[in-house]
Amino acid sequence: MFELPSGAEIQSIIATLKTGVGFFIPEIYLSVLFMLLIVIDLVVKGRKNNLLSAVTALGLAGGFYFIYQQHLLEAGEIFFGMYVLDEFALFFKYFFVLSGILAVLVSVADDQLNRQARSIGEYYALIVAMVIGMIMMASSADLLMMFLSMELVGLTAYVLTGYLKNDPRSAEGALKYLVYGAVSSGLMVYGFSLIYGLTAETNIMKISAELALHGYDPLVMMLASLLILAGFGYKIGAVPFHFWSPDVYEGAPTPVTAYLSVGSKAAGFAILMRFFYVAIPHGGEPFQDIAGMDWLSLLIVISIASMIYGNVVALWQKNVKRLLAYSSIAHAGYALLGIIAMDELGTQATLFYLLGYLLMNIGAFYVVILISNRTGSENLEDYRGLGRKMPLAGAALTVFLISLVGLPPTIGFIGKLMIFSALLAKGSVFIWLALIGVLTSVISLYYYMLIPLNMYLRESQQPDEGKDATGMVHRIGIAVLMILTIYFGLFFKPLLDFAKISSSMLGMTIY
């Protein structure tokens, strides 16, 4: 029988919620911003795109203040263990707000989006909604909350992907995204239910304690891990859960592609790390009996498959967005290597890698947008001779691509260096993984260099159609991203320190 709580119990519940709200201010602030954007759109009723984008960007930037305030708070659980606040979550809060701002910036740059979308209002509101969802993904500590936040991100992403209503590719991408998303969510929930069946808990810290106390059937655990990985792997776009990404990346408006490729992927990494590090820590005392075959081995397989598949298939791509989509599969594989190392250095490396990927990938898409504004195309063929027509954009794109390959002196090189250092610090066990990593990055050089090859080495077929019409804001935008990519490739200490501080997670029993 279900008993009604007594008055005192209700009082204590309310008190807990009240304290929790104090730890939830950035999320509340962003929700207010979300609603404000919808209201502004209703009030101005016209195509005041600039007003909306400015409010969104400034509003998101204001979010930094509230996140910064959270450094003063103690790390802890709120809302009955549904949600946590720790350094790890704070890292991703900064990360997602920054990626939201960059997404707004690239959205402003995209002529196609601004021409086609009838009302831009919901677009920016959805971007903010996705920021909220991703922040919640990184902070959830409960299976239910994890599922809900992933769905929030998923649903906004489906709508954003299909935002170009007149473009059939956009609609196709959105539908594929939705169908694959529904299937992988279903699988993940099944995995969650198996875990719940094993432990009768939904809080990941309690799950961990319960598993340690009572042990479990390794076969069921293996199945549950695999199913849950299907859900997380779908978000990070790793093989074999990647099937949606090329079509979605190609069909979606390019700013959305850029946003998904860094934001949603990083959110997937955040939730993956938190869930596996906290709920099913590998290598700790109670778990030694199943060291043979477990989620770590699954991750190794996924990572190798992603690096090889992503890089090899990208070789044949003729469309730059599709090429970057396949390469993003490969980058998911590299970032996973840091998780596989399973120590502080590895976590730090993965976090740093994601930061680097944010800079260089948004940068690359930014230039792709500016180029497509001019040529109306994202085909490699149409990049011919652009290096001379758009010198700054060409140089910047070359820097971003070099960084994506992992050559010095760029942030991408330091990312790879940290990842491989984390693997080699473990002694000789993971050398072969590092070998696959470096060899596949040699492959990646070939297809990334196809873009500068077309831009600089080949002459354009069409006559020059006039001056470079890129606005001053966007020139400064790409120049800043380019300089940061190089600057943090030479002086990376602050970012690495930040990543190191952020690698501590509440309730984690490893390291």
């Binding site: 120590d343 502080e344 250095l345 730090q348 001379r388 070359t398 070099i402 050559l407 010095p408 002196p409 090189f413 790879k416 260096l417 491989f420 250092s421 080699l424 610090a425 002694g427 000789s428 050398i431 590092a434 070998l435 470096v438 060899l439 990055s441 040699v442 050089l445 070939y446 260099m449 500068p452 090859l453 600089y456 080495l457 080949r458 002086f491 990376f492 200490k493 690495l496 320190d497 190191k500 390291y511």
Partner: protein, 545 residues
């Protein structure tokens, strides 16, 4: 001082960035000034260099001072990694006998490179920015004493080189450029892994922290015994040696990793060929002497024979390929492969004579091959072809050109009195006196014969005899009643013009002078080579174990 010599070109590049692209002459002059300033600095360093200090490893007590010179050492990245200790990367420059010769060579070739870039008309601004970037990266490689810094410079060379071949190259440039890029990157990614492995295996004797310092890595007592590349981990030390060797061998280029070189040379414009052959190839053998061998001396000792055989294959195979070429530039490219084989053979001798010969050969090959490529460029500019059988009897029509070609060709085949002879002689003396390499050396001598064959044969076909019916030029009877040569669309001076002479004559003087009196260079490098031989000797290794 060293920072200045490294970063001057990049500063020039930044200045050029601000110059409007229509001001071609200013852009060229800025680059030339930077290169000359680099040359002056190189001379100053040479004057201030104390040839008695050994280099290679740290002086007693673990500090590089007293062993290396012109040291600049600043902490660059200091990062606390918690349980993994701390990550220390230093901005650490310095020279010893190995690098000072290469610094001088690089400065010299850079000046020549800028001068020979003068006629380039296409996208001059972009060209010189990339050229200066390349120049900085090359110089940086030779003076960096921190592995991380070395790696950054090493990789920094690739992109400018890719564009310089890819944009300003010949018809098949796309293929040549990406082939160069992929080959070298393939070699260097393994270097990255070895670098990380070494970092975790070596501690700085002064601070006790892990370090990227090549000076600390060169002393075996700084290795942690059971670390991944520590002395106990024999298998991984062999693996690391092999992949490092392949990485550097690709740059040399050593058979069977040489195939990128002929493609790159044939497509590259003349100045880039000069830089490529004059400096870049040396980075491969320099890397072996600085990093590959002293860090893994016991593996080096175990693989002497293999290295010698590979060197011999390079010598003979390169010579045979050169013999078969119709394209003059391809012939010179293969002769480079052959001549770099002598360097490998000298290194495999593992004694002072061989190693001195190897390093001296690197310097001489730099100057001689620069001349060869410049001379190929001279005739290609005029005739727009490099096919050897499209010429004939050139000696009577272009006497100055023929004279310079003769000096360069004879220097290349190792004629006594010219610098190539001395280095090759040292290499063979070294290789004969080592038990391991004696047999290989005997076979390699054949390379000299074939070398003479292709060089003399090409000289004969191009310069002696009469004009061939299908030659790339016409003959006209001038007002004075003599026959004059006439190229179809060449407006300039028929024989060497002033700019070409300014490039070629100093090189020819150096080649002749160092052939008669080699001590200025040999004197600088002997104490470092002695130290290197000592570090590599089996005696030291056994003493440690």
């Amino acid at each position: 001082m060293l920072s200045l010599i490294v970063f001057l070109p990049i500063l020039a590049g930044l200045v050029i960035l601000a110059v409007p692209s229509s001001q071609k002459q200013i852009i060229r002059m800025v680059s030339l000034l930077a290169a000359i300033a680099q040359g002056v600095l190189a001379v100053l360093i040479w004057q201030g260099y104390d040839a008695s200090l050994p280099g290679i490893t740290a002086a007693a007590g673990g500090a590089p001072e007293g062993s290396f010179q012109f040291i600049e050492r600043l902490p660059w990245i200091n990062l606390d990694l918690g349980t993994m200790g701390s990550l220390n990367i230093e901005y650490f420059l310095g020279v010893d006998g190995l690098s000072i010769t290469m610094v001088i060579l690089t400065a010299l070739i850079s000046i020549i490179g800028v001068l020979s870039s003068w006629p380039i008309q296409k996208q001059v601004k972009g060209y010189f920015i990339l050229f200066n970037l390349l120049s900085t990266a090359m110089m940086g490689c030779f003076v960096a004493l921190d592995f991380f810094l070395f790696y950054v410079f090493w990789e920094l060379m690739l992109l400018p080189m890719y564009f310089l071949i890819g944009i300003w190259g010949g018809p098949n440039r796309e293929y040549a450029a990406i082939k160069f890029f992929l080959y070298t990157l393939f070699g260097s990614v393994f270097m990255l892994l070895v670098m990380i492995g070494l970092y975790f295996s070596v501690t700085d004797p002064v601070t006790g922290n892990h370090t990227f310092s090549l000076v600390a890595m060169a002393s075996q007592e700084n290795y942690i015994k059971d670390a991944i590349l520590g002395p106990d981990n024999v298998m991984w030390r062999y693996a690391a040696f092999i992949v490092l060797f392949i990485g550097f061998a690709i740059k040399v280029p050593m058979f069977p990793f040489h195939t990128w070189l002929p493609d790159a040379h044939v497509e590259a414009p003349t100045p880039i060929s000069v830089i490529l052959a004059g400096v870049l190839l040396k980075l491969g053998t320099y890397g072996m002497m600085r990093i590959n061998f002293p860090l893994f001396p016991e593996v080096f000792q175990a693989s002497l024979y293999v290295i010698a055989v590979l060197g011999a294959i390079n010598i003979i195979y390169g010579a045979f390929c050169a013999l078969a070429q119709q394209d003059l530039k391809k012939m010179v490219a293969y002769s480079s492969i052959s001549h770099m084989g002598y360097v490998l053979l000298g290194l495999a001798a593992a004694n002072t004579e061989g190693m001195v010969g190897a390093l001296y050969q690197m310097f001489n090959h730099g100057t001689i091959t620069a001349m060869l490529f410049l001379l190929v460029g001279v005739i290609y500019d005029r005739a727009h072809t490099r096919q050897i059988d499209k010429f004939g009897g050139l000696a009577s029509y272009m006497p100055v050109y023929a004279a310079v070609v003769t000096i360069a060709w004879f220097a290349s085949l190792g004629l006594p009195g010219l610098s190539g002879f001395i280095s090759e002689a040292f290499v063979f003396v070294g290789a004969f006196s080592s038990e391991t390499t004696r047999n290989v050396a005997i076979v390699s001598v054949l390379g000299i014969v074939f070398g003479a064959a292709y060089l003399l044969w090409s000289l004969q076909r191009m310069f002696l005899g009469k004009r061939k019916p299908d030659a790339a030029y016409d003959l006209e009877v001038g007002a004075d009643g003599h026959e004059h040569i006439h190229f179809h669309d060449w407006k300039g001076k028929l024989d060497l013009d002033a700019r070409e002479l300014v490039m070629l004559v100093p090189l020819a003087v150096i080649v002749i002078f160092l052939g008669i009196y080699p001590m200025p260079v040999l004197g600088m490098l002997t104490s470092s080579i002695n130290k290197l031989v000592e570090v590599l000797s089996p005696v030291v290794m056994t003493a440690l174990n």
